[in-house]
Amino acid sequence: MSRGALVKGPDARGRFGGYGGRFIPETLMAAVEELEVAFDAAQRDDGFRRDFESLSRTFSGRPTPIYRADRLSQRAGGATLWLKREDLCHTGAHKINNALGQVLLARRMGKRRIIAETGAGQHGVAVATVCAKFGLDSEVYMGVDDMARQAINVDKMRLLGATVTPVDSGSKTLKDATNEAIRDWVTNVRTTHYIIGSAVGPHPYPVMVREFQSVIGREARDQMLAETGRLPTVVVACVGGGSNAIGIFAPFYDDPVRLIGVEAAGRGLRSGAHAASILAGRPGVLHGSFSYLLQDGDGQVLATHSISAGLDYPGVGPEHAFLHDARRAEYVSVTDQQALSAFHETSRLEGIIPALESSHAIAYAMTLAAELATDDIVLINLSGRGDKDLDIVRGAAGV
């Protein structure tokens, strides 16, 4: 397999290797086809690209810097750690990149109403933000458990004019919020665009989200070359649905750079209370695509657990399933406790409070750095900031 093929993927049916596809009710079929056509046209349209780039700069605050985390590196002992500062994006996470791209597409398609699901609330806040900016109606579905643990983001969404609709079915977290968003879409598909928040869902969502998030990796690659004169040895990112990871990975596909995705091990992979879809799941179909999935022997989707709401999801984007099987990326996991330690260490040693999601990437990077040589470089995607997580952290250990 040539590496170039990775970047171009998926094929015409939306398949990354065998993964992906379009497993959706017929009612949504025409809308998803319309979206694919609109996305293809937008990608070829210089005007669209200009709008996206200009707003990324003036509204989202791009480019975000890369930052050499000296004290964290010292603590880890070994390779030098660099952080890609997506926490400095407007709204506090990488989610704005995708929300902005998709809202521009929705406008092109003439859709006046936007719906979204959210777990940590970062995607919901990003969607509420771009909808406020463009004067569009937005409704965000969120599990009631997540509304409780990420309450600040619920307030923000409402402040921004979004309707936040509680979802109390099933696990009461991201999976069920996604189910409800899809049911809304099935009902209001003629007027409504669904902004999925990660690199999941039916084709063309996974490739579209990757393209909008790839700005992270393109910037980081140029910045590493400019700051250090070389590419990183390893790139590390946390993986919920996989959007921040795919965004930083994709521009490095052709480079001799290790790519490592960090899944949430929750209370441990053997505890059953985790969200490590690739490490502990089997391929299956959920939310429109075929990918690794935490499921029981009967094909029922399992309940998940992670201290971070944004990683608390039983599926994963199909491109990650492919990267895993093709051995182009490695997937590992980090427990709640390890992520919490990294959260505290990054706060104390660097003056940066990371999101609990991103803390998973930091935790693994620190372990890895200790095993690498001192002239190796580990680039970590710091996907978001941790203000939203203070209640959880206080509850877990005390600030």
Partner: protein, 255 residues
């Protein structure tokens, strides 16, 4: 499946039951009761944890059945037991993942052996269906596809080309669940579908009242009643078989 009815140009009444609702042991008896009360085919829903084309009612019945431990193997046994009691066509309706987990080939053969005549898989569009179509065909079970009010002409054509058994015509832009009104826009949709296929055209989603059936009589070949029937079962603590009989005969009085 509905050759006789089409010859008579009469609307077939199709009843949907969630396997294991309200209790697994009752499912075969409920099938028999529905058939006795005028249902000319029965859809057996195999519960799935994430039924994203379903509204509140079927979400709730599925959750209840799953909590009680109902599996695909149970559904196969229930179908077999139902088949021993009645001759009406039986269809499984479930999402793709439980079928994938069971194994396409193993599932289709087991369904056929249990006396199941067809499969309905709401998250499987024709474009993704090549494998299941082949295994279903080999096992001798029909595979039904959907058309919706939002379908493109190409989508309708694809469903008609892929389907065996019948075409499932979705009456509403939305998820399952009883509705007060039947959208008259379904009638031209049926006409459009008939231009692409000689297969029977069956209407479902939202159907709950006698006047809905009356509106479809002579236009469609069948009508599926699901959530409204399950709602009727849910309303009574008493005998579920009596509820099924009562609801279905109320929906369409025996001739």
């Amino acid at each position: 499946m509905f050759a006789r009815l089409r010859a008579e140009r009469r609307l077939a009444l199709i009843a949907y039951l969630t396997v294991g609702y309200p209790k697994l042991a009752l499912t075969p008896a409920l099938v028999e009761a529905a058939a006795g009360a005028g249902a000319e085919a029965i859809e057996l829903g195999i519960p799935f944890s994430d039924p994203l084309a379903d509204g509140r009612t079927i979400q709730a019945t599925s959750q209840l059945a799953l909590k009680a431990g109902v599996t695909v193997a149970h559904a196969l046994e229930a179908a077999k037991a139902a088949r021993a009691r009645t001759e009406v066509p039986l269809l499984f309706m479930t999402y793709l993942n439980p079928i994938l987990a069971f194994g396409l080939d193993r599932f289709c053969r087991a369904a056929h052996e249990a006396g199941v005549d067809g499969l309905i898989v709401p998250d499987l569009p024709p474009t993704e269906s090549a494998d299941l179509r082949k295994t279903a065909d080999n096992a001798g079970v029909d595979l039904v596809f959907f058309v919706a009010p939002t379908s493109s002409e190409a989508g309708i054509e694809a469903a008609c080309r892929a389907a065996t058994g019948f075409i499932y015509c979705i009456a509403v832009t939305g998820v399952t669940g009883a509705r007060a009104q039947l959208d008259p826009a379904v009638l031209p949709l049926i006409q459009l579908v008939r231009r692409h296929t000689a297969l029977p055209v069956v209407v479902g989603f939202g159907i709950s009242r006698p006047e809905h059936l009356a509106a479809l009589e002579g236009k469609a070949d069948g009508a599926i009643v699901a959530s409204a029937l399950l709602d009727a079962i849910a309303q009574g603590p008493d005998d579920a078989t009596a509820r099924v009989r009562e609801f279905l005969t109320g929906l369409r009085p025996p001739p």
